[in-house]
Amino acid sequence: MGKNKRKISGTGFLLLITVVLFAVMYAAGMAVFADKGFAKPQMFFNLFITNAGLLVISMGLTIVMISGGIDISVGSVTALVCMAAAYSMENMGTSAYMAVAIALGIGIAYGLVQGILVAYLDIQPFIVTLAGLFFGRGMTAVISKEMISIKNETFLAWANYKIYLPIGSYSRRGKFLPAYIYPTVVIALLIVLIIILVMKFTKFGRSVYAVGGNAQSAMMMGLDVRKTKLKAYILDGVLAGCGGFLFCLNSCAGFVEQAKGLEMDAISSAVIGGTLLSGGVGTPFGTIFGVLIKGTISSLITTQGTLSSWWVRIVLSALLCFFIVLQSVLGNLKKKK
């Protein structure tokens, strides 16, 4: 019991740092770039608009990583979902609702196959999902090498439906511009909320932590380790499908090169959010801030205007190092007791 408590305090500590880091960064941005619109509420909502897909996908990765696994196929799944949705709507004339079903179908299929391979055949999750990565990108090219623009009316109506918020800002010309979000943001936040609740309050959520923390003792506690892992991968697949569709609503097109490297963004968001690659530790709540920090860095650098956008990667790598070192220090402390 005492051991358990310490682990949670470690998680809490990492989480605290992430939240503080985000707050400090954003506040600094607001102070320095106030005249460049950084202080506007819309700038904050843009973080969610742009990263809605990533947010959902990172939730999936957080769960898989807590269970002790990894999934590097999510970027390819996103590309495949976008392409399949675009192709079905534009070239096969299916409805936008059908495209949602296709997206979820792809996600479930991915989760199921990868989950079975990882959980029941004991294959390294990295290798399994690497295969998934290649397969997804390849299938995307097989469906179409050309870019497909989505013109489906229902779909575009979803994508372009602005939800105006009661706050806003005045433009330089004195016109009041209300802040807005898109339905993607609402969906993403709802999904995040559900995942937080599932991970915290359900038997499944607690099993994932137990399996990731120590599979042996979880088994001795009478948990079905394999089943839990499989479930984690299926949930991850579904979230990748959902996230991919949200991504598609943002880009309105299917294209082979889409979302390349998205899996790395998702993994780094989870790590910055306090999830340990070794499993057992992490929270979906922290991952939200991981995603927001990534978004804030790229906003800051674009707003600055003269720095090369490759600096986003450099700053991210520095942050990753910082968090990994911190995790390792905490881990060592725990061992020493």
């Binding site: 500590f13 989505i150 943002n250 600055q304 956008s309």
Partner: protein
Amino acid sequence: MKRKLIAALMVTAMAASMAVGCGGGGASSDGGSSEGGSEGGSEGGSDVITVGFAQVGAESDWRTANSESMKETFSEANGYELIFDDAQQKQENQITAIRNFIQQEVDYIVLAPVTETGWDTVLQEAKDADIPVITVDRMVDVSDDSLFVSYVGGNFQLEGAKACEWLKAYADAKGIKELNIAHIQGTIGASAQIGRTEGLENAAKEYGWNIVAQQTGEFTQAKGQEVMESMLKQHDNINVVYCENDNEAFGAIDAIKAAGKTVGPDGDILVLSFDTVKAGIEATMKGEIICNTECNPLHGPRVAELIQKLEAGEEIDKIAYVDEGIFAYGSDVAKVTVDGTDYEVTEVTQEVIDGRAY
């Protein structure tokens, strides 16, 4: 003991995170404060025009020259402030950058789109914020044409027509009676392919040229070489090759040499090409490419011209082409005429190559 250690660690970590946070802000605070200064200036009556430019990336010499042209044109000295974003070939990065430009309330957004599609949502946001969008290099495919004010880029059909007029004049000057042309097309459907192919087909019809073979080389050297090899096997009377970009021309030249034939003014086959990248103009100086029609990456001045017109409240054209030259080996043809307009032909010398920006 342990609690102390954790507390100490916590403090260090906090300090570190603050430092990182401030470092992120601090690194850019120079830009921020200088911007503050120019901002103050603009409120004081002078009008600095802020332009946000979302560039594709830095994948080729052509692209780099394109970026440099924008940076030179929209300099502080010229009364502009340029916010430059390199999207690293990712459309999602460009969408993010445009959203950022909107919040910064730039006066104009210039977009060199990575992809032709998927711009409806974000361009609508720009329109709602009353920020005009000018696309360069590639068109965007949007359902509502009012989402962008103008397109700046090359006139590919004119490029094709110019090359063909040059060929006609050159053939007349050299007394070449019969032209048997091998046509290596670009990637089918690309705007450059459509325009340049149209130019050749029109000219062939008008002047009675014989296009003996026509196939796509997909704008690559490897494919250009492969296509040329098979064309040479099927037809032994080819004396002109019309390639739709420099890379295809390099491949074709290799294939011709491998087949034991010669290229150039005194050789068996004349090679015509487009784009005029650095390696292309060097090949033109040697005569391997006899005539190279430029695809000009220097879009900056043309975009600035449009912006000045918009500032003055004038109407602008939906499509604005950039000026493009013709580079040739030798001085047999001094100028060509297309639709009543004269275009000068530049003889390639070392000075010409050194004088080019890319």
